[in-house]
Subunit: 413 residues, 2 copies
């Protein structure tokens, strides 16, 4: 964990309201960290539906395998998350740990082990001993309370320099519903998705299939559009829980994701996911600047996103931004290496509102001074128009600083 | 240019023999650098054949376009290379510069402009003024002499901390032939290929088509297997010139790349290309360690190379090596994100000869101490066996240090 808080940390935090049907407890299990919480239990009332999106890594962690197996049941009663150890690449021992945790968690919550969900984050390849924390679960379920969302955000941090939690409200059928979300992640962040854990809960009454559809669609332009270092974790997990408690207040249960009554909810969910994803980027290891990369004029949206990610993942572009250098030549390089349709002589490039290059060469009005001044800001927007079609995409990343190297050259030891 | 020479620089340099039919001159044109040479002319006798391999960037530099257009002629009389400015993304002005340079170079060499080859390396997007150097070419051709290979290597450097030149000999039909090569490159190095310029010349009598075949095949396991930062330049150029002068000494001219009399030459060429490529990696910006990544047991060779590059390009793997941390968990991550067939529970991983992971978990005999000691060396070999098939590949990279960020956060200004 880095000592210094990212300069891009939120200036203020929201007061987190409770979500009807969700209770939270945290504990100090001492898995790796000392003097801080590293265990989270989130307990859900009966009838809570669940959706999830996981890493596309071919070497996923044991908890990811575990969650994937339980997801088709569509029902959740308890979520257990630990920080400090990812329980990834731990072979048979890893599976034993998830199984033992699930048995004890389901006992504590009075549920089936099919309604347990697990996530672990931290070092890869070290066996995680369930005995370190499984005995704490009974007590955690007993003492869990609704208001502890900020504490939940803190317990799942690893190299994060600040906790990430947000809340949103919207209406379904004229009835207020609430969405609360927490996230963690700072490095090994890349689509799809990030060493990124995020858990969102709502009291909206939404069936599991509709919930999954909402989440799967929402992730594309949010969590799957951020990258810190192009490195995809084995543990990426984003889950959405719906307790349905708002039904008691008159919101009718919705089973179809295309139901027009969900339009407000969908918008609120996507906005929350994007805000959480940006909090992750802004805590990118060593980050000093947030970088937005927008590509327009691509053959199609998929092509635009690939070009945008090529720019956002380029070490040379990211170090240039760290050095406050509007080095659009490196942007051209990153467009060229993406392998997507592009015509050098059609390219235009902007930093903020300043067009620095046009029709394949430096903009005739290019001003080094104006651009340098723009580059001193802490939110840098790069826009590239390929001039070929109507495809567009935006992704977000952060600059690459010496601090990133320091953090990651010295993480495990 | 960085002041400090890479700790991985060669301990000694070879004495470069002349190549019959090649004369060399360098000059201080003051394109960007002061007090050093930045212009190279290599003059070839009539009958010299030529082969080339260029960047796959969709936004290639003007000189790359120019060389591609001349290559089918198969004949070369003069090569002109400048450092300090890449003449890339310079639009119409860039084409005018290559055209003007070609006209003056061909006049100086008494050749057709179809027999001129050009390369430029340095900043992208700044117009390159041919007037800065074109007037020097006449004199350079007059004073060019055979022995100046080391000087040639120096004139094309940009952020390189040491010049790169090597020589090799082999026999064709019992007659000695010589190969000399120079290279430059330190950052923006990735297949295919690198901000990498390399020029090799030989006195072997080989027809242009056979020469191209030899070069195209030779590049795969050499220059196209190295990466410094995954960033592919707009200017990558590798050319091979064959003067045929050895024909006078009795070596028969060879027109077919499959001719068995070429087997020694092919081996010598590939060895030279690999050695030059490794010199580029060892001068990777900020590099302190060379990293070899070998993947075995993949479904096929292509899959093996993609997994190897995923590991070699991972910032987290590269920073771990910089921190002398045998963090094989990050290697697992990089295998997983490559998107190629892999089964977590079949993976084995070695650092040097030390097996650190086996069958999807930490090796039972894993010794932190032995591994840490190995990681202190300056050549780190990482091997991953996927346990699926017989595909294998090796690629080379370097570690990612704070110095890389310093060099690239402060390059253009």
């Amino acid at each position: 964990m880095s000592d210094a808080v990212s300069p891009l940390a939120p200036k203020s935090y929201p007061q987190m309201p409770p979500i009807d049907g969700v209770r939270i407890a945290t504990a100090e299990a001492g898995i790796k960290y000392k003097g801080r919480t590293d265990l989270l239990a989130m307990v859900f009332d009966e009838g809570t539906t669940v959706a999830g999106v996981f890493t596309k890594s071919k070497c996923p962690s044991a908890p990811v395998d575990f969650c994937r197996a339980n997801l088709p049941g569509g029902s959740a009663r308890i979520l257990v998350v630990n920080s400090g150890n990812a329980n990834a690449f731990t072979g048979k021992k890893g599976r034993e740990t998830t199984e033992m945790t699930a048995v004890l968690a389901s006992k504590a919550a009075g549920s089936s082990s099919k309604e347990v969900f697990l996530a672990s984050t931290g070092v890869i390849g070290e066996p995680l001993d369930a005995k370190k924390f499984a005995h704490l679960l009974d007590d955690m379920v007993v003492r869990a309370e609704p208001g502890l969302w900020a504490e939940a955000g803190k317990a799942i941090m690893t190299t994060d320099t600040y906790p990430k939690y947000l809340t949103a409200t919207c209406q379904i059928d004229g009835i207020d519903v609430t969405l609360n979300g927490i996230a963690k992640g700072a490095g090994m962040i890349a689509p799809d998705m990030a060493t990124m854990l995020s858990f969102v809960a709502t009291d909206a009454p939404i069936g599991a299939r509709a919930l999954q559809d909402l989440l799967s669609k929402g992730v594309g332009m949010t969590f799957n559009s951020v990258t810190v270092d192009s490195d995809t974790s084995t543990s990426d997990t984003l889950m959405l829980f719906a307790t349905g408690a708002a039904e008691k207040r008159g919101a009718a249960r919705i089973e179809d994701a295309e139901d027009p009554r969900l339009s407000n909810f969908r918008r609120a969910l996507n906005k929350l996911l994007k805000a959480l994803a940006l909090q992750v980027v802004r805590d990118g290891e060593g980050a000093r600047k947030q970088i937005g990369v927008t590509v327009t004029g691509a053959k199609n949206a998929r092509s635009a996103k690939r070009v945008a990610l090529s720019i956002a993942n380029s070490p040379l572009v990211k170090t240039a931004v760290a050095g406050e250098d509007a080095n659009w030549g490196r942007v051209v390089m990153a467009v060229g290496k993406a392998g997507e349709p592009a015509d050098r002589d059609m390219l235009s490039i902007w930093f903020g509102d300043i067009r620095v290059a046009h029709a394949g060469e430096r903009d005739p009005d290019y001003s080094e001074e104006a651009t340098s001044s723009y580059m001193e800001g802490d939110e840098i927007d790069i826009r590239v128009d390929l001039g070929l079609g109507r495809g567009q995409a935006t992704v977000w990343t952060c600059d690459l600083t010496k601090e990133y190297v320091a953090i990651n050259g010295d993480y495990r030891s």
